[in-house]
């Protein structure tokens, strides 16, 4: 399929261009291998060998990634880690990648679960240290198509341990939305049908969702990658989102707020994560989620270690623990994503889980548009125009919300 190969190609080009963008040279050629040249992250040494644990570790995680039983007593993989390693874990969750980047700058955290729109910013900013994968025994079982990717490595040096990946879904109230949606059009062009009841993710990166929809429905705009928008394409996405805003009840970045507003019926349709669906269903809200026909944006997350980590040994033990088959299976099932460790597929309670989430399917994984940071050098390989960077997206997002 044409689009599929294009998508795969893009990852390579994206890495090369990103490298060019961050490097000191002014070269914009896109011929280098992923992360191979130009990009010079600050020199930070990786850990040579594991010592004894420091007795504590500070974890910064997406909601649902580091559960210690406080949300649901049955969902707990932090306590076993603490028992096994003697590292007392404190967990802080964040709602957007931007928040994660900001929080990592405080230096208070040892490890972070970073998505593709945060990881390279952390590396370039000198906030994340390279990872010595030899010290992480379970790294050997991580799916090969997740290793040495543009969003988790630089010049063949891994900067983290792949954790899991998945797609942003479209959630709806089964009792209020009829017929069941099949396309993102339900929240964009047909949103007025649910005026005042639509919800959307409160982050500039959500612009990519609109761009993806335009890519599939308005070919004349020439969008090839939702993270590579020239100013005209960005404007089209902004216009679409401004029109959507008239029908939006509220934007969400706090996942519990979304659960609550779907439960009460303030929102009946909108973008979501599988973990939100699971939580809402657990609270008896009549909701369902689908992967719409246009495909979806998504995430591929990496556990990264802070450059100034005060507890590096406990942090390595955490990274090893969280991608161990058992823990990785628990997280994947709870959060609703494909686990990175292929052996985790034997540990899931639902034996068909990995098939449902296409965990071993490299082709499917390549079809999701993983969150990445937009930069001036177009990620889709165009050299005749300047693309809009993340600060332009941030300004646009402020403008959309008005």
């Amino acid at each position: 399929m044409h689009t599929r190969s294009l998508v795969r190609g893009t990852a390579v080009v994206a890495a090369a261009l990103l490298a060019a963008a961050c490097g000191t040279s002014s070269s914009t050629s896109g011929t280098a291998a992923p992360g191979a040249s130009g990009f010079t992250p600050p020199k930070i040494a990786q850990l040579d060998k594991l010592g004894t644990g420091e007795g504590a570790v500070s974890i910064l995680a997406w909601p649902g990634y580091a559960e210690n039983g406080s949300n649901d007593p049955k969902v707990d993989w932090v306590t076993p880690y603490e028992k096994q390693t003697g590292c007392k874990a404190t967990v802080k969750t964040f709602g957007t990648s931007d928040e994660a980047v900001t929080l990592m700058k405080t230096g208070d955290y040892d490890v972070v679960s970073a998505s593709g729109d945060a990881s390279l910013r952390l590396i370039a900013g000198g906030d994340a240290a390279p990872v010595n994968t030899a010290l992480v025994a379970n790294y050997a079982d991580v799916a090969p198509f997740l290793k040495d990717k543009a969003w988790n490595s630089v010049s063949g040096q891994m900067y983290g341990i792949p954790h899991g990946w998945g797609a942003n879904l479209l959630m709806y109230r089964t009792d209020k939305v009829n017929p069941a949606p099949t396309s993102w059009a339900s929240v964009f062009t047909d949103a007025s049908k649910y005026a005042g009841k639509v919800t959307a993710y409160d982050s500039p990166i959500y612009i990519a969702d609109a761009a993806l929809f335009l890519m599939k429905t308005k070919p004349e705009l020439g969008i090839k990658n939702p993270y590579a928008l020239d100013s005209k394409q960005l404007q089209a996405a902004v216009d679409l989102l401004k029109a959507q805003k008239a029908n939006v009840s509220e934007y969400w970045s706090d996942y519990l707020k979304e659960v609550q507003s779907f439960k009460s019926g303030n929102s009946v349709i909108g973008t979501t994560w599988q973990v939100i669906v699971n939580t809402a269903v657990g609270e008896k809200a009549p909701v369902k989620a689908i992967l719409p026909a246009e495909g979806a944006t998504g995430w591929s997350d990496t556990w990264m270690i802070a450059a100034k980590s005060k507890h590096p040994n406990c942090a390595y033990q955490w990274m090893n623990w969280i991608v161990s088959p058992t823990a990785n299976a628990q997280v994947a099932e709870y959060f609703g994503e494909a686990p990175a460790n292929v052996k985790a597929c034997e540990q899931t309670t639902d034996k068909s889980f990995c098939d449902t989430y296409h965990a071993k399917d490299a082709g499917y994984a390549a079809e999701i548009w993983y969150w990445s940071t937009p930069i001036p050098q177009c990620l889709d390989g165009r050299t005749d125009v300047q693309c809009t960077d993340y600060s332009a997206w941030t300004r646009a997002w402020t403008e959309i919300k008005g």
């Binding site: 963008a21 961050c22 957007t96 931007d98 928040e99 980047v101 900001t102 700058k105 390279l120 910013r121 370039a124 900013g125 000198g126 005042g196 409160d202 982050s203 500039p204 805003k245 939006v248 009840s249 509220e250 934007y251 970045s253 507003s261 009460s264 019926g265 303030n266 940071t373 930069i375 960077d389 993340y390 600060s391 941030t394 300004r395 402020t398 403008e399 919300k401 008005g402």
Partner: protein, 290 residues
């Protein structure tokens, strides 16, 4: 009796302090002035300076190069103008609602209620301040939410500006009642009686005697309700729907967008608005009423 020996250090210190009023003043004011100067004015100065820096959009690191870009963005970008006007408008509306509601309540407390009931009623007005701000805001979220109290009575307008105005007016109500109550208490009853004796009907007494004398107190109360509404972002986040206020822009720019300089520039807007407001309030004589 234990008297201090004539040359004890404490005695000498005490004698010295008695002789030198300057040292007394220094002792009294050093700590509060340090607090005011460093923590308070220092923070404001840091805000101003940060607004003149910029951030690297990729790594999010602050770059200390001087630029007026952030300030000019805030001044010229139509989004910031719209948000500023919306915030000021809501703050003004909240103040107006609170003033209209608080005047009769304060008048009743100060002039009608018996001495026995007065403290109890004042305590009742203060009662909501004992509950957490968040609890009250979330209570309003459920009132305006789907299947909430408003939905039982009529159709709830949902989250948005009406919900925000109601919530803020509720939250800051005590701050308006108290200054007006204090102002009306100082109004001698004899003035009201004199007005009546001279043939004025109650409405005329209210209009020509009570209102002019209570006006500075209302302005004093409005300083609280206006400034608190101007800076609020939590209630807006909870019941504001898709609407943004200045506080939300600051919060988003620091938390989400990681652009502290722009946040600082936005943060200067309420500072400027309040300086103008306080200047006008001073001319109305309200500052003597605080």
């Amino acid at each position: 009796m234990a008297t201090l020996p004539a040359d004890s250090p404490r005695r000498r210190l005490s004698a010295r302090l008695t002789r030198s009023p300057r040292s007394r003043l220094a002792l009294l004011l050093t700590a509060p002035l340090l607090w005011l100067g460093l923590a308070y004015l220092g923070a404001l100065a840091a805000l101003l300076v940060t607004a003149l820096w910029t951030t690297n959009t990729f790594t999010g690191a602050i770059e200390r190069t001087w630029t007026f870009d952030n300030l000019s963005t805030v001044l010229t970008d139509p989004v910031y103008r719209a948000v500023t006007l919306r915030t000021i408008g809501v703050a003004a509306l909240v103040t107006l609602i609170d003033a209209v509601l608080a005047l009769p309540v304060a008048f009743f407390l100060a002039k009608v209620a018996s001495r026995r009931w007065q403290p109890l009623l004042v305590a009742a007005i203060l009662l909501p301040l004992w509950a957490s701000y968040l609890v009250k805001a979330y209570a309003w979220r459920s009132i305006f939410g789907g299947g909430g109290l408003l939905d039982w009575v009529a159709t709830s307008p949902g989250y948005g500006l009406p919900a925000t105005v109601c919530t803020l007016a509720y939250l800051w109500f005590p701050y308006m009642v108290l200054p007006i109550f204090a102002g009306l208490e100082r109004l001698p009853d004899s003035l009201l009686e004199a007005s009546g004796d001279l043939g004025a009907r109650p409405w005329r007494t209210l209009r020509t005697v009570v209102f002019p004398l209570a006006f500075p107190a209302v302005v004093a109360g409005s300083i609280f309700t206006f400034s608190l509404s101007l800076g609020d972002y939590v209630a807006v986040e909870i019941v504001g729907g898709t609407k943004q206020f200045l506080g939300n822009l600051v919060y988003d720019n620091i938390g989400a967008a990681n652009n502290q300089p722009l946040a600082a520039a936005v943060g200067l807007v309420p500072v400027v608005v309040m300086v103008v407001y306080l200047f006008l309030a001073r001319r109305a004589g309200a500052l003597d009423n605080l």
